[in-house]
Symmetry: C2
C-alpha cells in the first residue's frame, strides 16, 4: 500500500480573470493510510464544474476557497482498495468529494455507495449527481413552472441546463434553450427536446429571444449572467421567477463593470412586475435529495430525461479541460477519466 | 342633489422627473347621480402614497396609468349621502378608491364599511389600510423575520416602514430603521421602538449602517432604492430576504443611470449568498387581508403597534403635499382632509 504514489493537482496560485495552466501544479506524494472508520480509494472519475472557479478565488462566498498548495476540490467516483469501515468492502464503488487526484483517503461516513448495474458510474457526477440535483431543486422549488408557461434556460446544453429543460417539459412548460453554436443548438432540439433553440452568438440575439417568447418569460433559469440576462429581463412576465444557479459569463471578470448602471432598472422591474430573483446552491435543498434520486432514476429509465457526457482522458489534462469549460468548449457534463 | 359641484384634481400632463404643480389641474364638474347598486359619497379623507407617482407615467407597470384628463386615483374615506344599494344607508362611512375629488359615485360591491368607534377613520388609509397591509404581508410572507435576526427598514418613519419595524419587533427581531433627519430618527426610537435609528443624510451612512448591523442583515425591507440599497447589499447575510415594496428614491429619475454597472455584482451576491429579492404589491396577497385586519386591530388596541399621521388640509393642497412626500417632507402617513 505505501508503495503507491498519489498524483494530484494543487492550486499553485490564484487566477486574476481567466485561469491558466500556471495556476495549477501536478505533484506526486505518498498515498496515506486509512485510519479507523476510513477507506482508501482509487479514483476513477473526476467531475469538473463551473463552481470550482469560485473556489480558486479568495473572495467571500458560501464556501471557503481552496488554500494555495491544497488539492483542487471536486466530486469523484472511486473504488475502495482498502477499508477500515464496516459498511465498505474492497471493490465497492463510491461517490466521494476527493478532488483532483488519483488516490484518496475518505471517512466512510461521507461516502455514497454506487450500484454499477443501476446506472453508468459517471452519471453519479452528472444527471444523477450534483448537476442533475441542482436542476431539479432549483427549477421545481424556485422556478415552479406550470403547464403552458414559458421557461428559458441558459447554458442549456450543459449538464444542469439540459436537465432543467427536460424537467420543465415534464411539467408541461414550453422550453426555450440558449446555447453557443449550431451543434449545441441542434442537440437542444434533437437530444433534449427543447421547443426552441437559440444561439447566443447571434448578433440579433435579443430580438431572436423576443421572437421566441411571444407570451413573455415566466421562468428564467440563470446559469450565465451578462448579455443573456440583459436580454431576458425586459421579457419577464409579472410574477416571473428567476432561480440564479450560476453566472459563468462573469466568473472571470475582474474589477468594476462599465456603465450604464443597470441595477436601478432591474429593481424597477422587480417591483413593477412582482418578480422573484433567488440564488441557490443545491445544498440549500438537501432534504429533497431522496425524492430527486427516485424521480430522476425513473425518468432516465423511461427515456424521459436524456443526458450527454464529455469525458477527458487523464488527470494531467484536467486543468486544460476545466479552462475550456469556462469558455464553453465542452459539450455535455465534463468528466475526467482518471485512470 | 344635482346642485352639488364636484371639485376634482385631474392629471394635466405627465411629469418628466420630479412632478410639479403644472402636472395637475383643479376642475369643477357636476356631481353624477348614483345608478342602481351604487352610492353617492361625500369624501372626507384622501390618502397620498408614493405609488401614485407610477400612475402618472405611462411606463409599463402592474397597473394602468391614469389617463390624461382623468381624476388622479387614490384611496378615500367617504360618507354615504345617497344610496341605491341595500347594504348602505345615508350616513354610513366607507372606504373607497375614489381618487382626488370631493364627491364620487361608487359601486356598493367595492366598498368596505368602516366602524368609526373601532378606530379613527383615517387609520383605514394607513395602519389599518393599504400601507399597514403592505407592511404586514411583505414582511411576514417574503421577509419572514425570525427571533434574533436583524431587520433593516428604509423610509422607516413612513406608514409602511414604521409598521414593518414594529411587526418585525413582535417576531423577536432586532430592528434598524433608516430615515432622513434627526426628528424622524428620534421618532423611530421613541414612537416606533426601533433598536437603532440611522439618518441617511449622514455622510458616513454606509459605515454607520455597518456598525449598526454587527451580525449582518437578514431582512431588508426595500422602500427606497438608490444609495441605501447600495449600502445594504454588502451586509446581507447568506439566505437574506429582500421584499421590494418601493423605490421612492428613483421614481423621479429619467433615462439611464451612470456607471459602474452594479447589476453583475448584485447577481454575484444573489448567487454566492443564496439571496431572495422579490417585488410585490399588497394585492398579490389579498387572501391574507382578513388575518391582517384581525391581527393589526388587536396590536393597535394592545399598544403594540403605534402609528403617526400627517394631515394636509384641503383638496387643493394635495399636489403640493404629494410632491413634498416624494422628497421626504411628510412625517407619518400623509392624508388630505378634503372637507
Amino acid at each position: 500500500m505505501t508503495e503507491l504514489s498519489n498524483k494530484r493537482i494543487v492550486l499553485a496560485s490564484r487566477p486574476s480573470g481567466r485561469p491558466s495552466a500556471e495556476n495549477f501544479r501536478l505533484e506526486n506524494v505518498p498515498v496515506a493510510e486509512p485510519a479507523d472508520g476510513q477507506v482508501l480509494l482509487k479514483l476513477h472519475y473526476l467531475s469538473l464544474d463551473p463552481y470550482m472557479r469560485g473556489r480558486m478565488s479568495d473572495a467571500k462566498s458560501y464556501a471557503a476557497p481552496v488554500a494555495l498548495g491544497d488539492v483542487m476540490e471536486g466530486g469523484t467516483v472511486g473504488e475502495v482498495i482498502a477499508s477500515r469501515h464496516k459498511d465498505f468492502a474492497v471493490g465497492d464503488m463510491v461517490l466521494s468529494h476527493s478532488g483532483w487526484q488519483t488516490y484518496a483517503v475518505a471517512d466512510g461516513s461521507v461516502l455514497r455507495k454506487l450500484d454499477p448495474n443501476a446506472a453508468p458510474l459517471t452519471t453519479a457526477l452528472g444527471v444523477l449527481g450534483m448537476p442533475g440535483f441542482t436542476a431539479y431543486a432549483g427549477l421545481l422549488t424556485i422556478g415552479q413552472p406550470k403547464a403552458g408557461e414559458t421557461v428559458v434556460v441558459a447554458a442549456a446544453s450543459g449538464p444542469v441546463g439540459s436537465a432543467v429543460g427536460q424537467i420543465a417539459k415534464l411539467q408541461g412548460a414550453r422550453t426555450v434553450g440558449i446555447a453557443g453554436g449550431a451543434d449545441k443548438c441542434r442537440a437542444l432540439i434533437d437530444d433534449f427536446g427543447f421547443d426552441v433553440a437559440l444561439d447566443h452568438y447571434r448578433s440579433d440575439f435579443a430580438d431572436a429571444l423576443k421572437q421566441a417568447c411571444p407570451s413573455g418569460i415566466d421562468v428564467y433559469f440563470e446559469n450565465v449572467g451578462g448579455k443573456v440576462f440583459d436580454a431576458v429581463v425586459p421579457l419577464l412576465n409579472p410574477f416571473a421567477r428567476v432561480p440564479v444557479c450560476g453566472l459563468v459569463a462573469q466568473y472571470n471578470s475582474t474589477g468594476a463593470f462599465d456603465g450604464p448602471n443597470r441595477l436601478p432598472l432591474l429593481m424597477r422591474d422587480i417591483l413593477s412586475k412582482s418578480l422573484t430573483i433567488r440564488g441557490f446552491i443545491q445544498r440549500d435543498f438537501s432534504e429533497q435529495r431522496p425524492a430527486f434520486y427516485q424521480a430522476m432514476t425513473q425518468w432516465i429509465k423511461d427515456g424521459k430525461v436524456r443526458y450527454r457526457e464529455d469525458i477527458a482522458d487523464g488527470l494531467e489534462n484536467a486543468p486544460e479541460a476545466f479552462i475550456g469549460m469556462l469558455e464553453g468548449k465542452n459539450f455535455g457534463k465534463l468528466i475526467v477519466k482518471i485512470s
